[in-house]
């Protein structure tokens, strides 16, 4: 029968083992030379300042005639979709004959302080669509918007429906008045004008701090405790480091864009009320009449399902489909479950509507 002393000795032994693992792991980390993400081959085809449009090298002999433009969020980087060869939605789509373009919004700096949502959506997004259409002799292409990029894509599709053949929205916030999301709750109590006036551009670390607070212990402590368990495995550790690289690769947010995004959407929920305006034009989601595939994550704490699901109840399209996966926001792109099913689903859905 165990005594307190035995428990104590056991605990001490465990602590020693933990420390030894940590030491070995540190040696292991030192051997990891270069953490690279977003390595699938692509070429730059259009550029406006820091904003770039890339075209991925097709990986099949035949490709779908209607290319997909991936519109990622301004928050963090599109490289999440191409974290590593065996965890890459982009590679999976390419392997299924999709012709892919992606927008790289770049790293906003002081010169981008006054970049507005109009500049991003009416500006570079629209220009990119035009460039792709001209390159491929098309009138319309497929849009695949991710997270905030999905909101941008939805707004774009409502304003320029003639240029969007099909819309795929992934983990896309549309209804911001939900109380399921902590970001939604917190955003209502912040004086956005003060924040933007104080910061100018909102630093990436500020955003990261908010994201970490959503699961404060898991994301700030528990995952690093768990990390010690895998530190002696170089491959697992490299995977971990790639994810860390992506997580903290956080561009600052242009001040004026944040001002409008938080005030008009998070605070006033104007998009689903039909009051949202861009460049003086009202954005009516009913104008989204092209087929829509809405994909969301069941356990998403950043963009809760209720926020995503609102898209299909507000668009004017008849051909709509909703798909959900039992994963979280990031898990949607990197989990083993979705790696096998997500890209095939998107490819098949778009293939049917090419």
């Amino acid at each position: 029968m165990n005594t307190c002393a035995n428990y104590f000795l056991e605990a001490m032994e465990d602590a020693n083992q933990f420390a030894a693992k940590l030491q070995k792991g540190i040696d292991n980390i030192c051997k990891i030379e270069d953490i690279k993400i977003g390595q699938t081959e692509k070429e730059l085809v259009f550029q406006d300042g820091k904003r770039k449009l890339y075209h991925y090298q097709p990986r099949t002999e035949e490709v779908c005639p209607i290319p997909i433009l991936i519109v990622y969020a301004l928050v963090n980087r599109y490289t999440m979709l191409d974290l590593q060869p065996d965890r890459s939605i982009i590679r999976n789509l390419l392997d299924r004959g999709m012709d892919l373009y992606v927008i790289d919004w770049g790293y906003a700096d002081r010169m981008d302080r006054f970049m507005t949502m109009e500049d991003y959506i009416d500006g570079f997004l629209n220009d990119s669509v035009d460039v792709i259409c001209e390159r491929q002799g098309l009138d319309a292409i497929n849009l695949l918007g991710v997270c905030q990029g999905g909101t941008f894509s939805s707004i774009y599709s409502a304003l320029y429906p003639e240029k969007v053949k099909n819309l795929v929205a992934m983990v896309t916030p549309i209804d911001f008045a939900t109380k399921e999301g902590l970001l939604n709750v917190w955003a209502t109590q912040i004086d956005v004008d003060l924040m933007v006036d104080a910061y100018g551009n909102i630093p990436g670390d500020v955003m990261n701090c908010a994201y970490q607070m959503i699961q404060p212990i898991t994301l700030s402590l528990q995952k690093y405790i768990n990390m010690v368990e895998i530190m002696d495995d170089s491959n697992k550790m490299a995977d971990f480091m790639r994810m860390e690289t992506w997580i903290f690769d956080s561009p600052a947010q242009s001040g004026e864009t944040v001002r409008k995004f938080l005030k008009d959407l998070y605070q006033d929920n104007k998009l689903i009320k039909g009051d949202f305006e861009l460049g003086g034009r009202r954005v009516d989601l009913k104008n989204i009449t092209m087929p829509v595939l809405n994909i969301y994550a069941q356990f998403d704490t950043l963009v809760p399902p209720s926020s995503c699901k609102a898209l299909l109840t507000h668009v004017g399209a008849d051909d709509v489909e909703e798909v959900t996966y039992p994963v979280g926001h990031i898990g949607m792109f990197v989990s083993g479950k979705t790696q096998k099913t997500l890209a095939p689903k998107i490819a098949a859905w778009l293939g049917d509507r090419a």
Partner: protein, 407 residues
Amino acid sequence: MQEYFKQQADLMKMWQGNQEELTRQYAGWAEKWTAEAFGNKQKGPDFSEGWMKTQQAIMEHFRELGDRMNGLVHNGGNFPNEYLKFMNFRLFEENYKNFLANMKTAWGAPPNGGDTGAWQGVNNLYESFMGHGNPLLSAFGFPKVTDVISQTIGMLQGSWGQGGETFFAVLKNYQDLVGSLSEQTTSLLIDRLVENLGACKEQLEKYLAAPPLGLNREMIQDVAKGLDLSLDYVLAYGKLAKVADAASRKASTIFQTRLSEMAANKEPVAKFTELFALWTKESEPVFIEFLRSDEFAKSQGDFMDAGHRLNIQWTRLAEKVLEPTPIALKRDLDLAIAEIHRLKRDMRSLRQEVKEKRPRMPAATGLQMSPDGGDGKAQAEVKATAAIAKKGVRKVEPKPRSKVLTS
């Protein structure tokens, strides 16, 4: 002019009278507070001494300034040296030191320096609440907070004289303060801290809101506002910490109860990683529930707003310091950047207009903008692409790296 100075002197006298009365009231209140708050009769630090000296020094300063100005107007004397230096933009360092010296003088420190200026009075006031001798704070080992505040006040006094680093250091100090608060506070302490800082602010505000006089009055007012906002920031943090503390206690109780239950069931957790996993499992839902509450959202919002107000005020102060120098200010850069941005948008609109007026080109004309540069092969490829697009499948031919289009 003499009449003007007489009026100013009368105003000063009246103001001093008010301040003396306020100080007397405050001293009485604070003594009573110290005795009642800590349940003993220990006499609090004599913060009123510095304050009284301050008022006298302000009078002295004012009289001296009046005399010098009078001499300048009536006798054609030289403008005081320090003001000439202040206008010499080439000597930034000198200027900065001089600015600080002026600030100190205007607040009442003796012209030859010394530590009995108004800032020292403010510092004393803080010390009376936060100092090592304070039985409440010292009981909980709270020296860091006092140090941080003292350092900050010291910087505001200009005694550090570290040029542009000063304001960053002030902000860093507040971060340290926040850190030290979070490390060392307990529920009771937070309650008392919030209460005491609230009372401190209430009293200090009267002092800070008093109309300053002298050549640097605007700057003095700005610094005073900065100090006031910094108190708001600390207070907002205290309130946030207070609500967070309740959640932390709840989480801790749940975790300990669970540990006890497991031990009672002869299933104690011996592994570090298991212990941590259990802590995460039991505690995190409590924290998330708390983070979801309106109370937290409100406290966090207030804390952030207070921080942003303080940040804006420090920026304003930093710009005032830099104003006479050739260094571009944030507001200048913002104006320039906004203008560049506006020009870029205009250019874009013009481009768009030109594009719309141009008749739509057939697909092949897209070659003018195509990455292949418009040769025949590429033209054929685009035509083929368009044709294949209609059929449903596009054949991919390997192609050389294309040129990048720029807008």
